[in-house]
Amino acid sequence: MNNVVANFQLAVASRQVRNLPPQEDHDVSAAGTITAGQATEQALPLPPAITAERTLSPGQWGLLSFLVSEVALFGTLIVTYVFYLGKDVVGPTPAEALSLSLVLFTTACLLASSGTVHLAERTLGRGNQGGFMQWWLATIVLGVVFLAGTAFEWRDLIYRHHLTISRNLFGTTYYTLVGLHALHVTGGVIVMVIVLGLALRRQVTTANRAGVGLVSWYWHFVDGVWVVVFTVVYLVGR
């Protein structure tokens, strides 16, 4: 106990603590302003210069935070998927129902769309609105192809393999996980269509390309999630 008190007194004595001089009549309107009456006192301390902070824009921080929350969301469903692998009471199993050929193609499309969206961003950065719209449209098309392919695959799963969300655990977890991802792709496509509409009205320029940057970050994220989902569902879990 004595030690604590001694340490406190030490702290008091150190330069971390100071007693205030008795207050005088000074004008405390703003830091650094000295009134006439104080001319004989020591000059008021001046703060160090402020260096501008390099930081992301609020929009970027916001989107990043949102994407982290999406990681938590998908993470929960991926963990659930893995946890339930092999626990089915009835078939079909992933090995029986899933086939790689179509999904490899749609995956390639989605990955390519990350490339096209990046190119769209770069083109816009150089001021080429027409080129931007072309690459942007390509991204949308590739996204739609991915969704169409998913729909095709699901039709096959439902009608040929009789795999539905209520069939067994695999159906439950598969449709939930892949479905949530497809929902995110759909959301991204819708937003990109809106941006395309704005671009057609010449409202997307180099000056306001921040929004395009944010959408492309989202799109890359959706791609990244797919890489994980694809690996877990179609490669590791099959």
Binding site: L20, I50, T55, W61, A72, T80, L169, T176
Partner: protein
């Protein structure tokens, strides 16, 4: 052409806007201050509703084998009481404080995304209404606020009430997430010049980490709720044990959310208390850097303690031990904060206006709640104490003794800023003492009845269990607490007109919000200030001895 003279209008004072215009302004506002006030008002309304649910519970438990409420109604009451207090009172009130104060404290004009802010509020409110709409199905859900599977499956919870509950929570979760995203973007991207991240007011720091927790913890809950809805409505098998589903999976998912949730409910309060105690002790917060590090540590560790809510489920001893260790570790940064608050008071010049009274109530009660938490972390002892009234005592000590007392401190501290009027100190003292005494009388005895074997969530008990006396004490305490809330609401609303005008800075405080008018103009600051330290107003008031020399 005849010239027709129009009668001249006599110039007069603009009439007070019609109530329709005022309502329209509030409903369509994107101003963080108004949205913050609406969050707080929403929380106060749900506080009253949840409090009534609690009083009904306490009345039923007054006597053994009492038939005031039947089992179904009782079970609905504790489900809704817990859900309401956690989701529609606790989180909204803290988000409300954050919304109001963060832009002011960092020298910004609004949050980063004002429209998202408004959306978040209305969605949160809508979620709350959805959950309460469940009463229209013939009764609220009777599943408990943590809704263990498979009790939530269609087989066992037949009515649509559970669907309303799950949907309402998922929807309000979207609102909560929106608020968190907004806080992150605002705090990380919109601070005033000179306000480095390590110089933000402590409340802002805690809101930052609360938002981090929300971002990590709410989505798993949303996923779990979606699974419940899918099971119930589309025949999914997530928690369908007969088809390979796992009841434990729900518990893991829920508590992975649920534990960070309670830190979401306490970190902003740590922040508020860290603003108020220094002002009323007239001393800078002791050990800001360590407090800040402790906050971050608590946030990280809180993601790794969840299964201490599940010690009795039959996990392996190694798994149990892991959570014993992680839970024990989290008590260390929490203790550090506590000691720093005491060190702030030590050597100060403490005055006991109502905000400080509530802070002292907070300190004394949160200590007890934290210590019973340590007791609960000793896993074998937990086997006896878990799911008993001891746990109810513990978490009310941290949630009411901690969160609610801290919120009361915050309300009494910032009310002058928000309204331009002081609350009545006399009424505040009455409220404080009735609240303090009533609270201890309510929840203290629960530790005893828990240790005497009384489990949670029972609508009645036999006379020969020996629990009646403790339950009666609790019920009396609850009524005393209830009276304190009546005084509080009266003070809150009458001081709007009758309170003493507050001025800009009634407490002689040091953070930026006190440099604005009370209430602040819609644009917050005429000129965005440049700051050099954690206490910009201290620097202004003590230009010969500014903080930045010592930070």
């Amino acid at each position: 052409m005849a010239i027709v003279e129009e009668p001249r209008e006599i110039a007069h004072e603009p009439a007070a806007p019609p109530w329709t215009a005022v309502l329209h302004e509030w409903v369509t506002t994107v101003d963080h201050k108004k949205i913050g006030i609406m969050y707080v008002l929403m929380a106060v309304v749900f506080l009253v509703i949840g409090g009534c649910e609690a009083l009904l519970i306490r009345w039923q438990l007054l006597r053994p084998r009492y038939d005031f409420l039947g089992p179904d109604t009782f079970n609905q009451m504790f489900t809704m009481h817990g859900t309401t207090m956690v989701f529609f009172m606790g989180m909204p009130i803290l988000i409300g404080f954050g919304n109001y104060l963060v832009p002011l404290m960092i020298g910004a004009r609004d949050m980063a995304f004002p429209r998202l802010n408004a959306l978040g509020f209305w969605v949160s409110l809508f979620g709350g209404l959805l959950v309460y709409l469940s009463f229209a199905t013939g009764g609220a859900p009777a599943i408990g606020w943590f809704a263990y599977a498979p009790l939530t499956e269609r087989t066992f919870a037949r009515s649509a009430a559970t669907d309303f509950w799950a949907l309402g929570l998922a929807v309000s979760g979207v609102g909560t997430l929106a608020a968190a995203v907004n806080f992150m973007a605002t705090i990380l991207g919109m601070r005033a010049p000179g306000m480095a991240l390590r110089k933000v007011p402590f409340f802002v720091w805690t809101i930052l980490w609360t938002s981090v927790l929300i971002i990590f913890a709410i989505p798993p809950l949303t996923a779990g709720l979606a699974m419940v809805l899918l099971d119930r409505n589309l025949g999914a098998h997530f928690f369908d044990v007969q088809n390979g589903g796992s009841a434990l999976l729900w518990q893991h998912i829920f508590w992975f959310f649920g534990h960070p949730e309670v830190y979401i409910l306490i970190l902003p309060v740590f922040g508020m208390v860290s603003e108020i105690i220094p002002v009323f002790a007239r001393k800078v917060l002791f050990g800001y850097e360590f407090m800040a590090a402790a906050t971050a540590a608590i946030a990280f560790i809180s993601l790794g303690v969840w299964a201490h809510h599940m010690f009795a489920v039959g996990m392996s001893r190694t798994a149990d031990l892991f959570f014993v260790v992680s839970t024990g570790i989290i008590s260390i940064p929490t203790g550090i904060k506590f000691f720093n608050w005491l060190a702030t008071m030590y050597g100060g010049r403490i005055s006991f206006a109502s905000p400080m009274l509530f802070c002292i109530g907070f300190l004394s009660m949160f200590l007890i709640g934290g210590l019973t938490g340590i007791m609960l972390s000793a896993a074998p002892w937990n086997f006896q104490l878990t799911d008993s009234y001891f746990v109810i005592g513990h978490f009310h000590f941290v949630l009411i003794g901690g969160t609610l007392f801290g919120v009361m401190a915050g309300i009494h501290y910032w009310y002058p800023k928000v309204t331009g009027r002081m609350l009545s100190e006399r009424l505040a003292r009455w409220q404080f003492w009735l609240f303090y005494i009533g609270f201890m009388l309510t929840f203290g005895p629960m530790h005893i009845s828990g240790m005497l074997g009384m489990p949670r969530r029972i609508y009645t008990y036999d006379a020969d269990r020996g629990w009646a006396f403790w339950n009666q004490l609790t019920t009396v305490g609850a009524i005393i607490q209830g009276s304190s809330f009546v005084i509080f609401m009266y003070n809150l609303f009458t001081s709007l007109r009758a309170g003493r005008p507050a001025g800009d800075d009634p407490w002689d405080a040091w953070t930026l919000e006190w440099s604005t008018a009370s209430p602040p103009p819609s644009y917050n600051f005429e000129v965005i200030p440049t700051v050099h330290s954690r206490r910009p107003l201290w620097d202004l008031k003590h230009p010969d001895d500014p903080d930045w020399q010592y930070e």
